[in-house]
Amino acid sequence: MRALLIRDLRLALRSGGGFGLGLAFFLILAVLVPLGVGAEGGTLGRIAPGILWVGALLACLLSLDRIFALDHEDGSLDLLATSPLPLEGAVAMKALAHWLVTGLPLTLLAPGLGVLLNLAPPAYGWLALSLVLGTPTLSMVGAFGAALTVGLRRGGLLLSLLVLPLYVPTLIFGAEVVRRGAEGMALGTPLALLAAISLGAAALLPFAAAAALRVNLR
């Protein structure tokens, strides 16, 4: 399993592209929003938690179809499915690799973009924490969506349609944590729920995704 993780990370680093693009997209979004909404600090500060969370979610979406599509094209997926590695484990490792190259960098970049969007000072820590807890769900749910659409032409568009509704709970709780953090309110409940969704997704979705992959490889 570790070999697969290391291979995926190495591939992501060598081929560049993918995850760097996601970060660039996140940055551009944070620049475009003030241009569209207006530079008035109060408004920006109020919408910043939502914008940052929606931005992270969309940036994550960009590279989802690569989770399985490349392995499907060059035949590795067939070979992985017939290997001693359980497919559920392979799915979990690939989702983890995706998180390490998208979710984690997004989390690190987000506070910087919070400055651009005039985010309230107390919220920075909560922003990073909510993203650390929430983005694994984005990768795991994304891996599930990618497993459903792996063999399809124009699967990318369908993938967004399937995955975005599944992102709703994470988005709501994640943005709520940051909003409450900015206003200095109690945020234990949404934070706990955010973490709970991540843990639940990590525990159950590999099985659903592996089942979908097996169907698609038939």
């Binding site: 459903l148 124009r154 509704p165 709703v168 709970p169 659903a208």
Partner: protein, 242 residues
């Protein structure tokens, strides 16, 4: 005789051919009775005036929007466990019907909300949940139509339906948490205190029964169409091989 015999396509076609005219007749009778009774023979509400009568479309379609998804969930599980084709096709057939009920509930809700709350749309938990439900239906239908092999499509959409149900429930609670709403409480509940008044209640029950039958009728019709289509595809595939 086991209930699973109806999962045999032939048995299903025979039984549904017999049941369909009755279902259509009963649906029409109940809907006409319920709607006419509701629209013309109930008093106006003292606060809401005659706009209250949209309840006879709004509440039943909202209920059926959710029940249709529940039915798809059950049918998907039957397909995954017992691999009866009719079950998978019934789930496929129910999705556009459920989506239509969702849209009816949203539109009638907007029409009702405008005079009541002074706005067509509010990001109220119930409204938002229905909008999200609508997205789930769209994704499900899109996945069905994107995959060519019918068995693969049935498998994948069933998995999506299972996972989607969990996330739909999560979304429901997340949305509740996110915004407390304008929407009134449940129109029907066992707790009599919250219920709508009796004069509205009886025609509403008739309408709900009518909508349930409408759903069953349409799903039966559409499932028959799907079965015929599968049969056609099987014949064409055979033609190409021969």
């Amino acid at each position: 005789m086991s209930i699973w015999e109806y999962a045999n396509p032939k048995k299903f076609m025979q039984t549904s051919a017999w049941a369909l005219p009755w279902a259509v007749a009963l649906t029409v009778a109940l809907l006409v009775t319920g709607l006419v009774w509701g629209f013309f023979f109930t008093p106006d509400d003292y606060k809401q005036g005659s706009t209250v009568k949209i309840i006879y479309l709004h509440v039943p379609s909202a209920m059926m929007a959710i029940n249709a998804w529940a039915m798809m969930l059950v049918a998907s599980m039957i397909w995954i466990v017992r691999r009866h084709h009719v079950s998978a096709l019934a789930a496929k057939a129910a999705a556009p019907v459920g989506l239509t009920f969702t849209l009816i509930a949203l539109v009638t809700g907007a029409l009702w909300g405008q005079p009541m709350w002074g706005t067509w749309w509010a990001w109220d938990p119930r409204l938002t949940s229905f909008l999200i439900l609508c997205l789930f239906y769209l994704g499900y239908i899109a996945l069905w139509s994107a995959i060519e092999n019918p068995d693969t499509a049935a498998d994948l959409t069933s998995i999506l339906c299972l996972v989607g149900s969990v996330f739909a429930l999560l979304s429901r609670y997340a949305v509740n948490f996110w915004n407390q709403g304008l929407h009134q409480g449940a129109s029907l509940s066992l707790d009599k205190e919250e219920n709508v008044a009796d004069v509205f209640w009886l025609p509403l029950l008739v309408c709900i029964a009518g909508f349930i039958l409408l759903f069953i009728t349409m799903v039966l019709m559409r499932t028959r169409t799907e079965i015929r289509q599968r049969r056609l595809q099987a014949l064409l595939a055979r033609e190409r091989v021969a």
